[in-house]
Symmetry: C2
Amino acid sequence: MTGEGAQVIFTPSGRRGRFPAGTTVLDAARSLGVDLDSVCGGRGLCGRCQVVPAEGSFPKHGIESSGGHLSVRGADEAEYDRLRGLAAERRLGCRAEVHGDVLVDVPPESQVHRQVVRKGLPVRDFVIDPAVRLYEVEVERPTLEQPGGDLARLLAALAAEWGLGSADQPLEADLDVIRALQPALEAGGYRVTVAVHDGRFVTAVWPGLHDRALGVAIDVGSTTIAGHLANLADGSVLASDGVMNPQIRFGEDLTSRVSYAMLHDGGAEQMTLAVREAIASLLRGLANRADVPLEDVLELSIVGNPIMHHLLLGIDPIPLGSAPFALATDAAIRTTAAELDLPAGPGARVYVLPCIAGHVGADAAGAILAETPYLADEVTLLVDVGTNAEIVLGDRRRLLAASSPTGPAFEGAQISCGQRAAPGAIERVRVDRETLEPRFRVIGSSRWSDEVGFAASTRGTGVTGVCGSGIVEVIAELFLAGVITADGTIDGRLAARTPRVIADGRTFSYVVHDPAGLDAARGSAGGSSGPRLVLTQNDVRAIQLAKAALYAGARLLMDHLGVDVVDRVQLAGAFGSQIDPLHALILGLVPDAPLERVTGVGNAAGTGALIALLSVEARREVERVVRTVEKIETAVEPRFQQHFVEAMAFPHKTAPYPNLASVVQLPPRLPGDTAWTAGADRGARSSSRPPNRRIPSMLVQGEDSTR
Amino acid sequence: MTGEGAQVIFTPSGRRGRFPAGTTVLDAARSLGVDLDSVCGGRGLCGRCQVVPAEGSFPKHGIESSGGHLSVRGADEAEYDRLRGLAAERRLGCRAEVHGDVLVDVPPESQVHRQVVRKGLPVRDFVIDPAVRLYEVEVERPTLEQPGGDLARLLAALAAEWGLGSADQPLEADLDVIRALQPALEAGGYRVTVAVHDGRFVTAVWPGLHDRALGVAIDVGSTTIAGHLANLADGSVLASDGVMNPQIRFGEDLTSRVSYAMLHDGGAEQMTLAVREAIASLLRGLANRADVPLEDVLELSIVGNPIMHHLLLGIDPIPLGSAPFALATDAAIRTTAAELDLPAGPGARVYVLPCIAGHVGADAAGAILAETPYLADEVTLLVDVGTNAEIVLGDRRRLLAASSPTGPAFEGAQISCGQRAAPGAIERVRVDRETLEPRFRVIGSSRWSDEVGFAASTRGTGVTGVCGSGIVEVIAELFLAGVITADGTIDGRLAARTPRVIADGRTFSYVVHDPAGLDAARGSAGGSSGPRLVLTQNDVRAIQLAKAALYAGARLLMDHLGVDVVDRVQLAGAFGSQIDPLHALILGLVPDAPLERVTGVGNAAGTGALIALLSVEARREVERVVRTVEKIETAVEPRFQQHFVEAMAFPHKTAPYPNLASVVQLPPRLPGDTAWTAGADRGARSSSRPPNRRIPSMLVQGEDSTR
């Protein structure tokens, strides 16, 4: 110990200073601006200021550090250890006093602005920096001589203890807080904890120490509404849940809901009420699951496509139903839970992510925030497939967005054997290249249909239909097996080889599952119940239309960006996460890319909502990024039609698919079409192979056993 | 016309510049920063930009000005003249183009920040500067190429046309505005008018040009709630009205309402609901009277005593009922009409003036704002008498405030013959110094009781009781007539001289009105109906207690300020406006002051609310001033008790009343008391006069025939 006072060095910040003996580590940290958390204001209660003193010589820093250079553990730390546990090497920063040179590490969980790697949820690294923080303060009691206002004394304490508010911009308090303040002061013996939103608004007050501030990130989908309940302090997700969107009773897809609003007086209001009630029940369910009071939910962040966005906010969605598809607003919206009739803490704030364009909503903004294509050097194609596909393309230099009218085929609608993804739905399909026999897996069972025990494992649900990913797979597999040609025709000549290809008027169909007929006696699937599931020529056409629209939208953005290839494809949303990237490439839903770089990214929109829930900086980031996104309106681009027509073929009439062709042997292109690998060897590789040649079983790499 | 372009000089600002021929006067004014109003943005619709070109030589300015140097009146001005009238010498600034040197006067009503002398209402001069302003803009239509958000296009237009919002602080819009925007754009052909609050928030939107922004100033009294509906643009009051405060059913005075809240679960909530419903009905009534839609009410400003303030806002008033009388907040409150369940425009904002202390409320702040003692060189005493008197004393250097527990006697409660000020109540009394006979006037009639036609004029109401001002007058008159002594005793010896002094147990009473007895056959009052009205010794004691409390509070503030005299006394509130200043001085309600400088100032609190409604600067001013007010708590000041005891005598036991004594001959003080004029001639003047000597009739100057 040299010079005046003891030297204290903090890691990882490297900040250092000298302090008089007896200074607490927390005070030292504060005076150096070291990021060391505290909610209770240094009263040994909250445990947020835990630090780890180092033992040993640190010649680079010129000190000998020792935990012994701090005061010994006192009664408060013993009590904290007893109640909540305090590791042997740890100290409470507000209780440990400096009595000699010491190097003190601030572990990540004691930092306010900590870098967090989320476990469990597929969330990228980001810095937790919630809009709401809690502060415990001691408020002066009023006296007859100095009565003043309770609020004024609270704000004075917040300024003195926490440096909150300024003469320029004093803190403001919600009326609800003013109402609750006096009882809280009484109950807490003039110690209260307040929630401060955005460093400016006091939005909640509790008696004494209150160490729980919660938030919920909500993704309002057309079909389902998903929510994550998170602790705002550390980002931990306490519960996740989903509910059906009850607006379905007004129309299955977005277009029919807009029509409902147009055709029924008060129709939009009914749908607004319905979605708010569903979110309310979601919020109650989440609080229930996590066993926390709903009153501690102080923040909500919300994403949704433009129509869900407008309906939730009570804005007429009708203008979104026809050109020019103008949004009421594309800006982020900051409002209150009360304004949206959502149950939460009385002062709970709502952040709705910005929309991008009339068909590219806050859900796309959330997906962008989650996947950060705007930070990448590689050109990323980010696709969220719903009734409309929202498509984002670009890199750190430019980002473009469009939507494409894929229709509901990918969600199993308009498909004769289709159904929504639910237990009993076929989600994975393989077709034997020789026998042309299918095998499949259904949601709710981990067994393939040709495995022992399949029938038993599906007894509860049966095999009820084929969901989006199953339809993509059965068509892709039939294409690889030669049953479906590159132009999408079910080849009737194969009726001679297999009873599964059957005539259906002037076209042909493929029998996927026939429990009472073909499959009655055969294999393990035979014992399962359910309807006969047949893929018709019309079904294939519907998928062709959908995938051509998706491809054409992506291709249009590539034209605008001036690229012929993309480096990375990210498939978001429920369908995007279900489909197998290889099969998506085989059908040509998206342009060619290295297979390992075509990935499902889960509910990226919801993940973006979660990030925005937990980080003010992320909100600024997404608002800044969406302003730079160039909006491309597919409806007014003549090239879109041309791209659409060429994209009807599997995987495409002309576009090269070299990456795909390197991992799977594709049937030949139609006469006159270009080769899969483009350019020089046009037609050479594909034409040398017979259409029905068996494709090796590298498809195993596309199998997903984690569902 | 010399130099480049024509020279334009604006008066009264004196700003000048040269402009190319064809520049409109409005554009010239804007580019010079001249304060010239416009709502329609220069489209010849709103008429706000009217100017008067001068004719003649202006050598000081070096120009020859002529209306002929402007373009001739065109079709738009003719149309405006036809529809709304345009004086011959006037031009629309947005239509008149500059074609030669011209001096242009901007009349006050065309200035945005105009100095306004209010007519009709007793409002001091102030600059109208409302928080809300209207702006008409043309918004770009969305296109397929540039769909964007309606709000973003609106904000862009507001920035381009009106310079509103900045990159740092963009305008924000209420969710209601976002909801209403698209229909308004459609209906208005993409021209809309918006209301912008505080230069930051878009709070309302209308299709096309909308030229009416209204506000209501509300004074929430314990007994009545008064409101003024005003045009925010010019400060004109379109309607004024009052309703009873229905909280009266929970308790007549403030203390009993707090008790009700303490004794009944949900009692405070009931009272909150009641006062809000009353204000709602007041608002509807005002809109009805002025024949304007309630939706155009965009601002409310509210004053009230601390308990009314808390109950209206839904804050528990119980802490205000006992020491240390801590307010939930003493800061001004900015909230919304929706938050308080008050009917108005969907985006209407509410401004509640700040409170000063637990018993000195936003009503006192309003009175301070209306009467501006903080700008005066003279020491002003400003008193608002209710159940608690709110007392403010000071000048531009220091301002002090206190409340004093006067009780409800001044409002006619606790007085045997007392009643609230209402038709039929005696409000003026004169007692003949010789005969000791009274004559009086009642509310609702302009005749004195000894005038012909009095009985007929009161037939509808009768004579029902004596209100606060009547009680003050009858006691003061009886004191001057020698019936009541300086220590407040009704002198029983006078029963020998008049049948109106009657024994009442061990004390005596004075019969003010006895329609079935003494007054049955006498004079014109005889014919009037109603009960026998008797002033008892207890009634005199009740007034003594009340007035002593009021005086003691004022005197305590004088001690703190270090003054022995005040230069000016202002009596505010319903009672303060009713009472005759001379009688108030005779009874010693307030310290001595020059009679002409003791004035009733009407409902100063309500006037302050109106000023705050119309001026943002006034809001800042009152917030700044109340922070500097020194709060004196009478309950903890030992001197208060001493002052109180000495103030029981009429007008006072020891304090000199030289100003009063110079205009009225007072009965002698009690033996040993100091002279009215203090110091040297102590006792000399007063003791030389017999107690019952007739006082000359200068009391006429105290008569008020304007009620």
